[in-house]
């Protein structure tokens, strides 16, 4: 058994393995697979049941368990949900593991796991992955105004 705290480097090595066997497009297919197999039964079901509020339920649990450094805002009136990731524990951990090389597009998985799935449930998104080298990112989901 590996500890669940060792998953992030295992994940990073998985992306490297798949890319080595095929190409980056194959890694993206893996992310799409995980979006369907893992994220949809969890986040997707919550959003199906509770609307955009389901995002609050999903990420407040996950990010607390991952000991992330974050600010999450859910605006019920505006139907907006935003995560400001001040320091992502996953990317932060990989940055600290100087003895191993992490996957070059590690943060790419977030863009493929969540936004395309939530679009199917009617949510639009705005994402900022420009500072992932510092383990920072922002993502906002919202119900488009009619």
């Amino acid at each position: 058994m590996l500890s669940c705290t060792e998953f992030i480097p295992l994940y990073s090595e998985l992306f490297k393995y798949i890319e080595d066997k095929a190409d980056h497009a194959a890694v993206v297919r893996y992310w799409q697979h995980i979006s369907k197999e893992y994220v949809e039964p969890r986040l997707g079901e919550l959003v199906k049941e509770k609307g955009i509020e389901g995002c609050w339920d999903y990420w407040t649990k996950a990010l607390n368990e991952e000991a992330a450094d974050f600010t999450i805002t859910y605006d019920e009136e505006e139907q907006e949900f935003e995560i400001i990731m001040h320091y992502c524990p996953s990317k932060g951990l990989l940055n600290q593991l100087t003895h191993m090389e992490s996957y070059h597009d590690y943060c790419g998985h977030c863009a493929h796991l969540y936004a395309p799935l939530l679009k199917e449930y009617g949510l639009e998104s705005e994402e900022d992955y420009s500072e992932t080298d510092k383990a920072k990112c922002k993502i906002k989901f919202y119900v488009p105004k009619k």
């Binding site: 058994m1 480097p9 859910y74």
Partner: protein, 157 residues
């Protein structure tokens, strides 16, 4: 209308996201289904050789005590020290696990571990041993509960 804000620092919580056991197993399963049994072994060998290189160096320097401490730390993190028994005797480290906390968690949320999940024990430890110039034997492993016994030993060629 309500506006909710949650603001947390890393130090506010313990890092223990047990769903990562499921995510790890899904990754292994994906490799197994596309690249076969040897693909799973190759993937986990690469991971182990890379990620555990500091541990392997420590084992080479301090011997089986370093490996024993590492295994104990895994079960402490998982809050399951009670399922683990480790014994060092005559250049051999015997590890006995009465049940796997990861398998118990995965099953508790309805995820049945893939047939390749055993490799997180077999291939990972085999690779640590091989890289640290030790022998490894998986004595038994129950795929239903993860109850297992395995040993590391000084190997001779």
């Amino acid at each position: 209308m309500a506006k909710r804000v949650m603001d947390r620092r890393a130090a506010d919580n313990k890092y223990l996201h047990r769903d990562f056991h499921v995510s790890g197993d899904l990754g292994i399963q994906y490799v197994g289904e596309r690249y076969g049994d040897n693909g799973v072994k190759e993937y986990l060998r690469r991971f182990t050789t890379s990620y555990y290189s500091p541990l392997i160096a420590d084992i080479k320097e301090r011997g089986l005590a370093a490996l024993k401490e590492h295994i104990e730390s895994i079960y402490e993190i998982e809050e399951a020290s009670e399922v683990l028994k480790t014994t060092i005797k005559d250049d051999e480290l015997l590890v006995e696990v009465s049940r796997c906390p990861a398998i118990a968690y995965m099953k508790s949320i309805g995820h049945t571990p893939s047939k390749w999940y055993i490799e997180e024990t077999r291939t990972v430890n085999e690779t640590i041993a091989d890289n640290a110039d030790l022998g490894f034997e998986l004595i038994h492993y129950d795929i239903e509960t993860g109850k297992a016994a395995y040993r590391f030993f000084r190997r001779c060629f």
